[in-house]
Structure formats: C-alpha cells, structure tokens
Symmetry: C2
Subunit: 378 residues, 2 copies
C-alpha cells in the first residue's frame, strides 16, 4: 500500500483531526485493473456499499467498471459519477417497491431477487427488466460469512425463474455469494455446479439463462497473505468449464473489498494507555476509533487489520479498544497485537486496508462522537 | 408505553417515511421521576449517550435531573438544554486531553478516570477538579454486560486516589458499573463492598471520599417483566448501610436506558417476507431497520424488543432481519418471534422500548441507507 505525496499532504493537514480515513484512488483503480485482468471477459461490478466515495466511483467509471448497488443513494452516486444506468445491477434482494420504481425510472434494468414477493414487486415496478435469482450458498471459510439471509434453494430458484419469464421479465441468470473475505478459491465451485443445474432444468422448460453472477468475496491480505486473485479466477473459470461445458454463461463478479479495502489507511490517535492493575497482563490501548466509529468488521475480531505505530522500539502485547463508554466497543482482545512499550496519548496509529466497509458503517453520533471523516487523494 | 395524541399526529405524518423513532418526552420524564423517587437523596445523572435529543434533555433539566456525559458534543447539548455545568459529570474514562480542557473551560468539574495516564491529563487540563475513580465490577447477569474495558482493581484505585490528592485534585469518590440491563438487584452489593473498602483504606491515609457512584444498569421490561426500580433501590441502600455503616456516602446513579428506553417506539416497515424453500421453516421478515440502522443492541440477540404487528389474526414464527446486504444484519433468528401469517410488504411494525441506544448508534450511510430519523413528541 503506497500513500502518494498528495495523500501525505492531506494527511499532514488532517493529523490533528483524527480519526480520518485516507483513500488513495490510484490503489483502488489498480485493484480494479488487477481483478478485471484476472477475470478477463467477465463483467466486473464494483459493490458500491464497500465505499461510495464519489472520486473513487468516478475513477472506476473511467476505468470501465460496472456497479452493484444496494439502495437509491448508491444509484444516485453512480449516475452522478458518470456511470450509465445499464452498467448498474441492483443486487440487494430486499428492496422497497418505491426503490425499485425509483431505480427503474432512472434506467436501471437489472435486479436481483430470491423470493416470490420480491418478484411481484419487480414485475409491477420494473416491468420487463432482467432478473438474477440468488441461490443459497455455503460461506464456509469466509472471514465475514454470509448466512441464509440471502438466497433460496435451487429448486425454488428454478420455479421462480419460470414465473419471472411468464410474467414478462427477462430471466437473465443466477447469482450467489460465497461470503466476504473468502480465503478458499475452491468455495465457488459448489455454487457454480448448482447454477449449472438450474440452467439445465430451465433449458428443458425452454428458458435460456445467460448470466452467472459469482458475487464477491475475493480476499485482500490483512495481517496474513492470501492467494493471488489469479488463483480465484482460475478456480472459477475451471469450475465454469467443468459444469457448463461448451455453453459457458457470461460471467459477472461483484468485488467490493478487493477494490476498496487496500485503498484506505485509517489514521487514529491513541487516547489512553492503561493497565487494570500494577502487575497486569497486556496494556489496554484506547484509540479514537472503534467498532462504532467505522471498524464494525472487528466484531468477533473477524477482520484483523494491520496496524503500524508511529515509530520503532521495543513492543509488547496490547488489547485494543474504541473510545466509547460501550464495552462491546473492543477491537481486539484475543488476536495478538503488539505496540511500542512507551506508546503515549496523542500518538497516531495507522490502520491499513481500511478502505472497505468502514466510513459508511460509522455511527452517526455514538456517545456524541462524530462519524469517521474521509479524505480522498490524490 | 402510551403514545400521546401529538405523537399519533407526528406518526401519521411520518408513516410513509419509516424507519422513524418516535420519542415521548412525557414517558422519559415519568421514568426520571420514578427512579429519583426510588433513589431519594441520590444524585440522578442521566446517561446522555442513551438518547441526546434536545427536547428530552430540556425536560430532564426542568425536572431537576443531572447528567453523565461522554464527549464534547454531549456537554454542549446539556448546556444548550439549560443544564448548569456543575450538574455534569464527565463519566467516560477515555478522554482526549483537548476534550478534558474543553469540558473544564465550560465549567465541568467532575471527571471519572481509572488509570495514571488519564489522571495526568486531568491534573494538567482540569486542575483542582473532583475525580471519581472507576473500579472493575462484575457484570454477571446483565443482558449487555460490561467488560474489563473500564475500571481498575481496588488496590490501584486507592493508590490513584492518593496521587490525585497529592496532585491537587479533589478525590471525591468511587464509581462502578454492573452492566447495562442488569436484571439482578443483588449485583450491586459486591462493588459497594469494594468501594467501602477503598473508602476505609483512604481514610487511614487521611483522605475522606464522599461520593459513591453506583452507575446505571437499571433494567426496563422488554419482552419479560423485570423487578421494580424500588427493588434495586432497596438493594443498593441496604448494601450501602451494611458496608458503610454510620458514615454513608452521597449516592450517585447514572440511569440511561431506564429513563430513555420506554420513551421510544420505532416504526419500521416490512420490506420483504420470504421463504428459503417451499417446505421451509420460519418465514424471513426483512424490516427497513436493522442492526446498522439503530438496533445495534440486537447483536447476539442481547436485547429482545417487543414488536407489535399492525393487526391481529393468526401468527407464525419468523426470523427478523434488516434491509442491508450484510448478513450479520439479522435481528433475531434464535429468539422466538411471531408475526401475522399474511404479513405483507409495506405494513408497519412497531418496535417498543427503543428510546435508548438506538438513533445515535445508527450508521451514517450503511449500504447507502440514511440514518434513523427521530420525531419527538409532544
């Protein structure tokens, strides 16, 4: 992760106003190019929820990226950044009728769903649109696993797609998601096999699906290395070949973390270093950002960010916590973290890889603290 | 929980704009009077973090309430609501130096701490102020337990108070907190005994403490009844008598949830009702508010709010989830909840007892969704 000279300048300017997330758009663009190259031929839809900063969206539009949106606001942000509505896929399977109508009025024609009630809404408020039906997928092996919240069983997906076709929608394809920060390239295959089965079943009913949306989940290195994106691409392409044979679908992916995560460095100040007793165990280090200030993914210590201290010298173990009076606002007490033994209040710690799922997750005024500020560079 | 006629009007006006938290200030005032009566003689400091809505703060000022603040913004809100700075206690043990200086400049003279570094900051930035040292307390039995994040061992508290006196601060007393939504009245006694021990140790060094801050944690009924506040007051007073004998300290309490919780009703709309398969288990009901939209305390299903459906009729079990693409945004999948079998998208569900720890916990723009809106009545 390189911080550009511009970012350094921004940073100097903002150092007395921690916490502050510095986003380097160049890094995000490079990540986009990397995944688009690895998945050559696939439609790359950036999951805007990861980080909707306008300069980042503009850079991705310019680079040829498409977008996965979850709400009205994300649609507006993408269109304002210059995206064409045809490049947007409304991937949230939980949409209000008026939000579907809003999207449709702005030209969005691709919607995901996983239930008959959502299908009804799309038929009514986005007639003739293309739909992707999301199927349940196992997210074993993901650091931020997805649950049964999204998707339906394959048999139901096949039935729903028949209904979609009957009701004038374009039954475009099948979507699934193997869980965010999914570390294992082989976890895509079972869902690809499932999707191929649904394609085949529907073919027999005269319905030809064409899109396979393999979702996101592509991991980034936090404190430990991960397999290169090429390994994930190979695993996906191999599985598609194996299960679809000579009639491969158009592939679509929805990376969020992979593009935005490495682009962010969160600058946070040490508020307090303390011990609970004179002969105590690890020090407690309290930062001015915590679980409710943007680091929501530290819940259960799921995502373990890399930290850097302002300077070298001997270090020792610490428990890391946020600045609020809420005791669940603890970042890491089981994961091993070390910081300088002479760490003092006011020193700035950098938290790396924080470009995704941080700023927008920040609470609006928890304990009276302001939400996380973002500075974009260059 | 009564919703006033005014609230009903607000509500009618806002029904098409769910989610919306309706706060009934009368209910909060009544709750304040109830706890102030039960704890007659004690200083009641409302924990502003529970809900900092200005009309609520103004009503509490008028009723004679004092305040526990956690940040600059909460100080400003209290002063703007008419509180005198002498009625404010800066109870957060994790404060930036500049925030201590800010509080001091505005007349705040009571600060909590639990470490030598924080003591240093108070000596420098709030010279001569009164200090409360927070000790570790067990929060067994609390639905939202506190951890070792706050407080130090009693021996350290005694030493720190000696240092406080030597460095020109007013060693006022001892603070502890037994965990929020603490269901067991007898859980205060062990910490009261600890505090009495510290009082005695310091007396031997010629330091007379005078304040016992027994914190908050007083529970409100969500789906199950809780012991009346008088039971908690009796338990606390009895324990104080038992451990302090003929020299009782001034008692101070910091209720947040008890005052604000029952004053709120969150109006949320059903976005989707779905099943994962045709022969499936419970329905999934997706609301337009979730864990990141204000219901943070549903983490691990800790706080189980009472819900009411718009109408009667046969009901069946449901899993409740929020509207975002994040799969940890699930409210209840283990706790048993039932809703009408014919529940439809667009219907409004009321979530009761949501006045505390909701609106300010809401994410600033998670998935592009706006934060929870509050309407105050009357």
């Amino acid at each position: 992760m390189t911080v550009t000279a511009d970012a350094q300048q921004f940073l100097q300017a903002g150092l007395d106003q921690t916490p502050c997330l510095v986003i380097d758009v160049d890094v995000a663009r490079t990540q986009y190019e990397r995944i688009a190259h690895a998945f050559a031929g696939a439609g790359v839809h950036y999951a805007v929820k990861a980080n909707p900063e306008p300069p980042l969206l503009r850079a991705l539009v310019a680079a040829g990226c498409q977008f996965d949106v979850a709400s009205r606001a994300e649609i507006d942000l993408c269109l304002a950044a210059g995206a064409s509505p045809g490049d947007l896929s409304y991937g949230n399977t939980i949409k209000k009728s008026e939000d579907i109508a809003y999207a449709y009025a702005r030209g969005v024609r691709m919607f995901s769903f996983d239930s008959d009630m959502e299908l009804d809404k799309i038929v009514t408020h986005a007639p003739g649109s293309s739909v992707l039906c999301r199927v349940l997928a196992s997210s074993d092996g993901a650091r931020w696993p997805l649950s049964r919240k999204f998707g339906c069983v394959p048999e139901m997906a096949a039935e729903l797609m028949k209904v979609a076709a009957l009701r004038g929608l374009d039954p475009a394809g099948i979507a699934f998601h193997v869980g965010s920060q999914q570390l294992h390239p082989d976890r895509w295959e079972p869902s690809i096999a499932t999707a191929a089965w649904i394609f085949k079943v529907l073919e027999q009913s005269g319905i030809s699906l064409r899109i396979l949306n393999a979702g996101g989940g592509f991991p980034v290195p936090y404190r430990t290395p991960v397999a290169p994106i090429s390994a994930f691409a190979s695993a996906v392409f191999d599985a598609v070949r194996r299960h679809f044979g000579h009639k491969p679908p158009s592939l679509m992916i929805e990376p969020g973390r992979y593009i935005a995560g490495p682009a962010g460095v969160l600058h946070t100040q040490v508020v307090l270093v303390s011990r609970k007793s004179y002969d105590d165990e690890p020090r407690w280090v309290y930062l001015d950002v915590g679980r409710f200030g943007g680091l929501a993914e530290t819940e259960d210590e799921a995502i373990q960010y890399e930290l850097t201290a302002p300077r070298g010298g001997p270090t020792g173990p610490v428990i890391l916590a946020g600045p609020t009076c809420d005791s669940v606002d603890i970042l890491y007490q089981h994961a091993p973290y070390d910081l300088p033994l002479d760490l003092a209040a006011g020193e700035v710690i950098r938290i790396h890889g924080t470009g995704a799922y941080t700023a927008t997750y920040s609470a609006v005024g928890f304990n009276g603290l302001p939400p996380l500020r973002t500075v974009v560079s260059p």
